[in-house]
């Protein structure tokens, strides 16, 4: 599938901002099923400094700074992305999960070093015994890794309620765990916490999802949203993605932007302001099938 993706972030400040520094991770990555063309980033007011580079996780990050007084900032990323539909790997053929976990314990196998950092706690996701206990149910001894993950993905979808007002970007994971409510970002974090608590490497993926209008209605432009899910590293297959919010695996309707250990590594547009007082943020995403 080919899409034209537009991701517009608008900040409005109560008082003028004198200087602001930002980091944006909004450029869709190239993956083995995804390629990207016609990438454009438009920032108003025009930044005094702008610099793109790959970050530690291989995502493209754009640093920019605005050094003139401004009351509004608009960051618009557009690109054409093509996503291949690919047959999903047969879960039963993956290695037993406990064997996979063993590769990351001392002494760490040389080929396991690359994914090793995804086994440990990260700023927003710390392994906890209670996560391990919950996850265990999906991972009886010797079960193929992907079968277990598929089951965990299904259980999180069933056990947690989608609730866009229950949490904010600052809600700690244990709160989500207690309330069993949240949004895609929270569900991805819960899944990652569960897998890491079993010693398995899990990463956070930010991106977009194509939405389909109700039958008979026209597609609403800009009504889509940013999305997030997780991936688990499988020795024979590499990273395999799962979407607990929709209880599915990756399809050609998921568009990947960035990988990281958790949301804090891939926050789409973040900034530090001098001045500004209170502010509002609006995010508009449009995923238009071509």
């Amino acid at each position: 599938m080919n899409y034209r993706v537009t991701h517009r972030t608008t900040y409005e400040y109560a008082e003028p901002v004198a200087v602001s520094h930002h980091a944006a991770r909004v450029e869709p990555r190239a993956t083995n099923v995804q390629s990207r063309s016609d990438w454009r980033l438009v920032i108003t007011p025009e930044p005094a400094v702008q610099m793109q580079r790959p970050d530690f996780f291989g995502n493209r990050v754009c640093f920019f700074a605005i050094q003139e007084l401004h009351a509004k900032l608009e960051v618009t990323a557009t690109s054409v992305v093509s996503v291949e539909a690919r047959a999903l790997p047969a879960p039963g053929l993956s290695e037993p999960w406990d064997e996979v976990a063993r590769r990351y314990r001392d002494p760490v196998a040389p080929e396991a070093i690359k994914a090793l950092q995804y086994v440990y706690g990260s700023p927003l996701v710390q392994p906890q015994p209670e996560f391990a206990e919950y996850a265990r149910e999906s991972f009886p001894e010797g079960r193929p890794l992907l079968e277990g993950v598929l089951d965990l993905n299904r259980r999180i979808h069933a056990d947690f309620a989608y609730d866009p007002v229950a949490t904010t970007v600052a809600t700690p994971l244990v709160e989500v765990w207690k309330s069993r409510r949240g949004v895609c970002q929270d569900f991805a974090h819960i899944a990652i916490a569960c897998l890491r608590s079993l010693g398995l490497p899990a990463s956070y993926v930010s991106g977009y999802l194509r939405t389909r209008p109700p039958a008979g209605q026209a597609r609403l432009v800009g009504a889509d949203a940013t999305h997030a899910w997780f991936a688990v590293h499988c020795p024979s297959l590499g990273w395999v993605d799962f979407d607990p919010t929709n209880n599915c695996q990756l399809s050609d309707e998921h568009i990947t932007v960035a990988y990281g250990r958790d949301f804090s590594d891939v926050s789409p547009v973040m900034g530090i302001l001098t001045g500004g007082g209170s502010h509002t943020v609006k995010v508009a995403v449009d995923v238009e099938p071509l």
Partner: protein, 858 residues
């Protein structure tokens, strides 16, 4: 070495008396049996390198030594040498604790130690550079990968960032401890922010003054060379060449544990002490925000932790850092010492691998061993730790790891099994024993020494000395100043006489003569301004209260009321005396007296003198490194004066008057010091502007209350006004008549030769404004200047004689209107100054927040 005790000991007339004095000195020295004795060898003889010190001390009477120690303590108090303890109400500004007996290390022992420390620093810097770069040591199996990847201090944004000058570790410090067999061990590596070198310097200053004879006799190596090396090294890190590099010292602020040391070192090394909000990144370069604009910064000597240094790329919730700093470092535009990310190697887990790394990286054996360390991230080590749990000390391996000290073995082991890579276990060593002073002679205490290294060329130089730390008792297995220990000067002896080194007067680098200091950071100008305002506020409040208390008579408030009422109303205007209370207590002398005493002494009363004193001290903390110790002492004294009488059961008006009289002298001293000792630079200018504005406000309030009074021409009231305004003498010398309203108003409002008059304050402000950096730039007067010109013109045109005319209501006269006008204009003037000069600092304080949108996808 041939110590000559007799030459040093004029008091010990005979050998027999000398022996008795030695015996007395050493009588209480009882080191723990299982530890190394620093002072005496196995036969009980004093070790040769301590001999001269023991002889020197034995040769002096206990009374003489006590007198010297007292001098040292006074020096610590007077210099304000302090440290802060977290989490304790009185933890701020604890006086520094120095044991007067130095710790002595012989030249023969020092040389190999020095070489071994240099080897260790070189090794650690190489390992650090690899971990933050190519990570070959991980790929080749020399380092377990989890040691880096599981560490919260492995800061990914710093990976592959090449620090300026290619130096990751400009400074390194190690905590040394000596085991019972006499060998030195490293108990901890300090790779990120090696604190304490400034305290070592302060200790040296005090100890060498207390024991000048022994200091010379022992040929103690000087510390100044280390700090000169520090200056040269930091200047050498500057990425930009061609002009004098600007180095700043970045502090987390006055509430940090070692703030005093940071200010002290910055001052000694000649660097501006700045906070994160004083710096800004523009065009990927770092600048200091000063009163006259942005000034480029080349090198940052930091005391802020790695992850707090840049809220954009590191910890988003940090208010201590500088947004964009990591990118400025990445672009090579600024050097940070130590390099960002250097906290990684501070993990004790690395100690377990240093011997192997040393062979692999340097091709040498590690010369200075670490305390035996097991990193539980390795299966074999974890098993060992479980088996030998009771013999080992378990610690978090990583700084951010949960490290609740738990006595419970089961709980510890549960945690270790859950996250083994987050813990290390270390051998417990019995610390060596050294003499400390215990009232009339030596006692024994456990000691460890922190030593400091600074990069030099491809290698390092070691400070010949260090920060000795002693535990409160001889059985302690670790020392911490946070737990009530004390410090020691460390005397490293030289082979022969020592040349004096000083930071001043380096012939090779002629100093550029300057008449003005480096440009003042806006934040400090802000603080100076408020220091001036609060000091004047305290002064004016004290004067007002004194005059009110003097006129207060328990027998009849009735007669004094026409005088008291306007004074009390002035207090009410400043919110110090609630209106309803003023009316209530009118006919109750006791209640009125209690009210007035509360405005003086009650720390909970809004605007009380006591509260103002506390606020004043808090502001003074913020400009501490820019003001003299005398100024600081005056403010401390003022606060203590007000605090002292609290708790005494029955305070009387008379007691309060006495305290207020003394307080007024404190402020005379404060203003005298400010005027006589501060150079007429920006700091002084803002201090004085604050003071003038506050004095104008206080004057206007008082006069407004007086002119509005029903009996404004009351003689007693006019006398009180002259007294509050400190103009009684002037009035009497000019007019032989009793006070008249017109003449009083002329003197306190319009007379521009009277330094207490309103016009005089405004004229001074006009002069200050003319010299402010930004006012010169524009053709038209700015907002502040407009306010001033308007007020000055009104005052100069005013005619006080109308006040004497019969039939005119005083409150309606032009003079009364002008007073009200100026009273309203002064706060606007204060705001105008804030907008022009402090705005970019105060806005940063309010903002600096993180903006991130939540992923809300379906």
């Amino acid at each position: 070495m041939s110590p000559e005790p007799t030459a040093l000991s004029p008091n010990s007339a005979s050998p027999a008396a000398g022996a008795a004095a030695r015996a007395r000195l050493l009588a209480g020295y009882q080191p723990a049996a299982d530890a190394f004795d620093e002072l005496r060898d196995a036969t009980g003889a004093v070790r040769p390198h301590w001999e001269a010190l023991v002889a020197d001390l034995a040769g002096k009477s206990v009374a003489e030594l006590q007198r010297r120690w007292e001098t040292g303590r006074r020096f610590i108090r007077d210099q304000g040498i302090t440290y802060n303890i977290y989490g304790e109400p009185d933890g701020l500004d604890r006086p520094w604790r120095l044991d007067p007996v130095p710790f002595v290390i012989s030249a023969a022992e020092w040389r190999p130690l020095e070489a071994a420390l240099i080897q260790r620093a070189v090794l650690i810097e190489r390992v650090l550079a690899d971990c933050l770069g190519e990570q070959r040591l991980i790929r080749s199996g020399q380092l377990p990968p989890a040691l880096v990847f599981a560490q919260p201090d492995f800061l990914r944004p710093l990976h592959n960032v090449k620090p300026a000058g290619r130096r990751h570790l400009p400074f390194y410090a190690a905590d040394l401890a000596r085991s019972p067999d006499g060998r030195w061990w490293v108990a901890a590596d300090r790779t990120q922010i090696p604190t304490g070198a400034g305290y070592a310097l302060a200790n040296r200053l005090i100890a060498s003054r207390m024991l000048p004879e022994a200091f010379r006799e022992l040929h103690v190596q000087r510390l100044a060379g280390f700090f000169r090396d520090t200056q040269e090294m930091l200047a050498g890190l500057a990425p930009r060449t061609g002009r004098e590099p600007r180095v700043v010292a970045l502090t987390p602020g006055p509430y940090n544990e070692t703030y005093f040391e940071q200010a002290y070192l910055a001052r000694y090394l000649g660097y501006a002490l700045v906070e994160g909000q004083d710096l800004t990144v523009r065009d990927e370069r770092v600048f200091l925000k000063t009163l006259s604009g942005l000034e480029p910064v080349d090198v940052i000597l930091r005391r802020v932790d790695d992850d707090f240094c840049d809220p954009l790329e590191l910890r988003n919730d940090s208010m201590l850092g500088v947004p964009g700093l990591v990118e400025a470092v990445r672009r090579g535009h600024v050097a940070v010492a130590n390099a960002l990310g250097s906290g990684l190697l501070q993990s004790p887990a690395f100690m377990a691998f240093l011997p192997g790394l040393c062979r692999h990286v340097l091709g040498e054996e590690l010369r200075l061993s670490s305390v035996a360390t097991w990193w539980c991230g390795q299966q074999a080590a974890e098993r060992y730790v479980e088996e030998h749990f009771d013999e080992l000390a378990l610690r978090p391996a990583f700084r951010a790891a949960p490290g609740v000290p738990l006595a419970d073995r089961t709980e510890w082991l549960r945690r270790v099994r859950w996250q083994p890579e987050s813990y290390v276990a270390q051998e417990r060593i019995a610390l060596s024993q050294t003499p400390v002073w215990a009232g009339d002679g030596f006692a024994a205490a456990s000691v460890s020494v922190r030593v400091y290294l600074v990069a030099h060329g491809d290698s390092y130089r070691v400070m010949p000395g260090g920060l000795g730390r002693i535990a409160p008792d001889s059985a302690a297995r670790f020392v911490s100043l946070q737990r009530g220990g004390a410090s020691k000067d460390v005397w490293v002896r030289a082979e022969g006489p020592v040349e004096d080194v000083t930071l001043l007067g380096q012939a090779s680098q002629p100093v550029e003569l300057r008449r003005v200091g480096n440009n003042l950071p806006s934040r400090l100008a802000d603080n100076f301004f408020w220091l001036g305002r609060y000091a004047e506020r305290a002064d004016a409040t004290a004067r007002l209260l004194r005059s009110a208390l003097l006129r207060f008579s328990p027998e009849s408030t009735g007669g004094a009321w026409p005088v008291l009422a306007p004074l009390l109303r002035a207090l009410e205007e400043h919110g110090q005396l609630p209106r309803e209370r003023r009316l209530q207590v009118r006919h109750q002398p006791e209640a009125l007296e209690a009210e007035l005493l509360a405005v003086v002494f009650d720390p909970a009363r809004n605007g009380s003198l006591r509260q103002t004193a506390a606020q004043l001290r808090q502001i003074a903390i913020l400009v501490r490194d820019r003001t003299s110790n005398d100024l600081w002492r005056v403010l401390t004294q003022f606060e203590e004066r007000l605090a002292a009488p609290v708790g005494t059961t029955s305070l009387l008006a008379g007691d309060a008057v006495a305290v207020l009289n003394h307080s007024l002298l404190d402020f005379a001293a404060f203003h005298g010091l400010a005027n006589d000792n501060m150079t007429r630079a920006q700091g002084w200018r803002f201090l004085d502007m604050g003071r003038r504005i506050e004095r104008a406000i206080q004057l206007c309030t008082l006069l407004d209350c007086v002119l509005a009074a029903s009996d404004a021409e009351n003689l007693g009231l006019l006398e009180a006004v002259l007294e509050v305004c400190d103009c009684s003498i002037t009035y009497r010398s000019r007019y032989s008549v009793l006070p008249q309203l017109a003449a009083v108003c002329d003197l306190v409002l319009l007379d521009d030769t009277n330094p207490r008059s309103l016009l005089f304050q405004l004229n001074q402000l006009v002069k200050h404004f003319d010299r402010l950096p930004r006012e010169k730039l524009t053709a038209l007067p700015g907002a502040g200047q407009r306010i001033l010109i308007d007020c000055v013109a009104r005052l100069r045109l005013a005619d006080p004689r109308q006040l004497g005319r019969a039939g005119t209501k005083v409150a309606d006269t032009e003079i009364a209107q002008i007073v009200r006008h100026v009273a309203a204009a002064m706060p606007q003037l204060s705001d105008a100054i804030a907008v022009s000069y402090f705005a970019h600092s105060s806005i940063a304080r309010a903002g600096g927040e993180t903006v991130a949108a939540k992923e809300v996808g379906p």
